[in-house]
Symmetry: C2
Subunit: 244 residues, 2 copies
């Protein structure tokens, strides 16, 4: 028997503070999910987390069509926030953008920033829908942290306000193979993955002019943007993050 | 101007030998794709590869509804086959299985072996459809190699015939965090990713009894199977493969 058996299988992200005996009002959406989708009832044990107080085992103590109440019984895991790594990516087709957000949450990005570049096709994103994907991924991967999905921001604006101490790792498809794959810089850091068409010459010049920029080459084949996101997050987490 | 500008954007995998002046008969499917989907015509330059002869620039010299002919003009890239790394995975939901095959081809797996484990839901796969996904991924990622997608094979049969010198890296979710993330064993090697439910106790014991087995833990969060595939392939390629 491993430790998973002692933990509730149903995990929900909530906004409220969690603590011994605390009663948590669950939303109509959560009530629908618990009672209609999962066919649960009063007395079911669930796990709650809120990005601050770790994971709490809680019992459903009341419920209706309009909501439910859960009461915290005991902390089942400590708060565990990911290292200070941002993911910046240029939105692509819907399914692959959803996928990128899901994977970034699973792999432990602290913030997710959709970026508009010169060769980005999308001019808008559904920020609320992407945030919901990040929540669902965190609920399913057993984490206690949901990364914030920021609003779509033009790359020049992001670079103009770039924090001086934050390393910026970017996948540069013009770099010769194998160049600077490792070591990657430590936190605070950010990974930037461009659109399928890559960065423009002007963008690449601006990126290279930043103080803590770190271009990397991800192997001899051309990776799709979604693959490059997972590959770059994996390399950073294994070298500098919480996989060590 | 980078080297991509000198290379044809349309890339097709074919079975026939490629060489100077060689005429290649393209299939009805290829003809439909070239003439109807991409709106190309006689005289278009395309790139061909066949897993053996590198990439060849070829010109479409004849075409009809039933097929097309291309003639090789010059070799545009040398043959580049991936290192001897197999990916073994337990099929999951259709879209995520497709995704795994696509990513394995992009990331440079030499063979893809769908495996039936005790907790695998799927009892069959569409081998031809998965092979077509691998071909499409290789065409799009600029590679010159398409990994073979093998038939679905039960895990005990695979392990009974396991080649003695091939290291078997498997993601073991019961392993304590950070254990044995690196270094990974060199080629010949294989990565095995289990189904969402993990391996059974019996399977885990059989795996651990193999001579060159190497269990790894992929970070503190629970990764979905498709994420674990990309993460494990990335780690191996960056440590032992052709990303160095």
């Amino acid at each position: 028997m491993n430790s998973d058996s002692l933990r509730a299988k149903i995990r929900l992200f909530v906004e409220q503070p969690l603590g011994q005996g605390q009663e948590i009002a669950l939303s109509q959406g959560h009530a629908h999910y618990l009672f209609n989708v999962l066919r649960q009832s009063i007395g079911t044990q669930i796990a709650l987390f809120n990005n601050r107080d770790g994971e709490w085992l809680a019992e459903i103590v009341a419920g209706s069509k309009r909501g439910a109440t859960a009461q915290c019984r005991a902390q089942s895991a400590p708060q565990r926030s990911p290292p200070d790594l941002w993911l910046l990516f240029a939105p692509i087709k819907k399914a692959r953008t959803d996928f990128i957000v899901e994977k970034a949450a699973e792999l432990g990005a602290a913030r997710i920033l959709p970026v508009q570049t010169e060769l980005t096709n999308s001019e808008r994103i559904r920020q609320d829908r992407l945030q919901a994907h990040a929540i669902e991924a965190a609920e399913q991967c057993g984490g206690t942290f949901v990364p914030e999905v920021a609003a779509l921001t033009p790359l020049p604006k992001l670079l103009a306000d770039w924090p001086e101490n934050r390393a910026l790792i970017f996948a540069d498809e013009t770099l010769s193979e194998g160049a600077r794959l490792a070591p990657l810089p430590p936190a605070p850091a950010a990974i930037l993955i461009g659109p399928e068409g890559g960065f423009s010459g002007g963008e690449r010049s601006r990126l290279r002019a930043l103080p803590h920029v770190h271009p990397i080459a991800l192997g001899p084949r051309i990776l799709r943007a979604d693959t490059a996101v997972v590959a770059a997050l994996t390399l950073w987490q294994s070298q500098q993050g919480d996989w060590r």
